[in-house]
């Protein structure tokens, strides 16, 4: 306990990703999404598979990330893609430990997710439990053709056999460290911080 409660020095550390870095990473991921959609596109799809793509953010920060990715995809490809959010709170298996939290909306595009390529979007990939909960939630919402995962930061320490298909940045961390993603929409600024513990 004592060793992990000394954050004073870390607070002064420079961010792992600055606002400019975040923008660059998002752009790169948008390009990767366009490529992947094209490679998985159904035959005869004039939009390069983008018509089929749905970006589904996991609240809190996965939701604005999904919207940003969609905006960048549209900017690069000229094709609008569907966006949604799926709240996983009621699908978590750690309620007893973490306690209740306010629910956030689950919103799916009007066309639904059946037989489409769903890409779940989250800020940080850690144990994998949030993704598992999101997969459970998606199962109740429809039957996608395929589900893939995009995360801004992969910090390792998986507890489930889950991996990301699109990773903004891989960050080796220790378990005791905290990876904090801040976004303009939710936190007033774009940056990624690593605090606490030793790498």
């Amino acid at each position: 306990m004592a060793s992990s409660s000394l954050p004073a020095r870390d607070a002064a550390q420079a961010p792992l990703l600055s606002a400019a870095d975040v923008a660059r990473v998002v752009d790169r991921m948008a390009h990767q999404l366009i490529e992947r959609a094209a490679s998985l596109a159904p035959e005869g799809d004039a939009t390069g598979g983008l018509r089929d793509l749905v970006l589904v953010g996991i609240p809190t920060r996965g939701a604005p990330l999904a919207r940003r990715l969609a905006a960048r995809v549209e900017a690069f490809s000229g094709t609008a893609v569907d966006v949604g959010t799926v709240d996983i709170t009621l699908y978590r298996d750690d309620l007893r430990r973490r306690g209740v939290r306010a629910l956030e909306p689950t919103v799916l595009p009007a066309a639904g997710i059946d037989d489409r390529l769903v890409v779940l979007v989250d800020d940080v990939l850690f144990s994998g439990r949030s993704v598992r909960a999101a997969l459970d939630a998606l199962r109740d919402l429809g039957r996608p053709r395929a589900v893939q995962l995009a995360v801004l930061v992969d910090r390792g320490h998986r507890e489930l056999p889950i991996r990301a298909d699109f990773v903004g940045k891989n960050v080796p961390t220790s378990r005791t460290q905290q990876v904090k993603v801040r976004l303009q929409e939710t936190d007033g600024a774009d940056e990624v911080l690593v605090t606490g513990g030793a790498a």
């Binding site: 709240d87 009621l90 699908y91 978590r92 309620l95 007893r96 430990r97 973490r98 306690g99 209740v100 939290r101 306010a102 629910l103 956030e104 909306p105 689950t106 459970d136 109740d140 919402l141």
Partner: protein
């Protein structure tokens, strides 16, 4: 949130709003879905302990718990050891030994859920106790008003009928006040408790004077046996003075709604044409009850944040 929901005073404005917001999110999450089931409370046990017949409330709680994947045990007073005179405390200890996480209790004695809460470790949810309170009914009523009118702050609610014996009225007065609505109680003086002036509500004996100033009219069930105890002279006189019929409904503002906690006495406190009108929210109230009870179970059983 406190561990139990025994009375509406257990909810401050933030808690009450959280319940309503959570119910709204659940409603939205489940809207249009084929699978109306969430895994949230898998492995948790909810006991419905009903000492009073109330099929509709029991089913509503049962559905709420099942939609959250909890295991549900129905423990009704009939056909169980309860009817053989087992005390509430012994029943509580039995439920405790069975490992129940929550007990939803309906009882004819005011305060019985409070007593039960002394004897069990899990959460206790009051599903109606005597003439005291029925907090989830008040929550679903508030939820219904908010959905229909878009707000609660400043909404003028007339609660009409047997306030004296009504747990629905007690809970609604408290909760609606907490949420910023303005309540007026309308009843013959015999059906208002001595001490009603200490409640955060206006009191009137004149329904016709109150209706034009009401955004919501909540009709309470009036039991005919009250007549025999001289609370009012006859069903006909009661209905004429305090019943809601079509001409009276016409006196309401245009977007006002009519509510009833059910079961209704059509022709007594409410005319059939009113109950079936577009202003009536009676069917919605039933549906909303499930969502609100899901929210309550989730918030009570979800565990408290560290």
């Amino acid at each position: 949130m406190k561990r139990h929901l025994l009375e509406v005073a257990d909810l401050d404005r933030a808690d009450a709003t959280l319940v309503l917001d959570t119910a709204a999110q659940i409603d939205q999450a489940l809207a249009g879905r084929e699978v109306k089931k969430l895994p949230t409370l898998r492995g948790r046990t909810v006991v419905n302990l009903f000492y009073e017949d109330s099929t509709r409330t029991r089913i509503s709680f049962e559905l709420a718990a099942k939609r959250l994947s909890a295991d549900v045990i129905n423990f009704s007073a009939k056909g169980s050891s309860v009817s053989k005179g087992e005390s509430l405390k012994d029943t509580a200890l039995t439920l405790e030994a069975m490992g129940s996480d929550a007990v939803v209790v309906r009882h004819s004695a005011s305060g019985a859920p409070h007593r039960l809460a002394n004897w069990v470790r899990g959460s206790v949810v009051n599903a109606g106790d005597g003439t005291h309170e029925h907090p989830t009914q008040a929550l679903l009523d508030a939820y219904t008003i908010r959905r229909r009118l878009g707000r609660l702050e400043g909404v003028r609610v007339a609660v009409v009928g047997d306030v004296l014996h009504s747990r629905v009225a007690r809970s609604n007065v408290g909760l609606l006040h907490t949420l910023g609505a303005e309540v007026t109680l309308v009843a013959p003086p015999t059906l208002l408790p001595v001490g009603v002036r200490s409640w955060p509500a206006e009191v009137s004996y004149d329904l016709d004077a109150v209706l034009p100033k009401s955004d919501v009219v909540m009709m309470l069930r009036v039991q005919a046996e009250r007549m025999n105890a001289s609370f009012f002279p006859s069903a006909r006189e009661y209905s004429r003075r305090y019943g809601l019929d079509a001409p009276r409904m016409a006196a309401l503002p245009d977007d006002a709604i009519v509510m009833h906690p059910g079961p209704m006495n059509r022709g007594m406190e409410i005319a059939a044409e009113v109950a079936d009108s577009v202003r009536s929210t009676i069917v919605e109230q039933v549906a909303n009850g499930v969502s609100v009870r899901m929210a309550v179970l989730y918030l009570l059983l979800g565990g408290s944040p560290q």
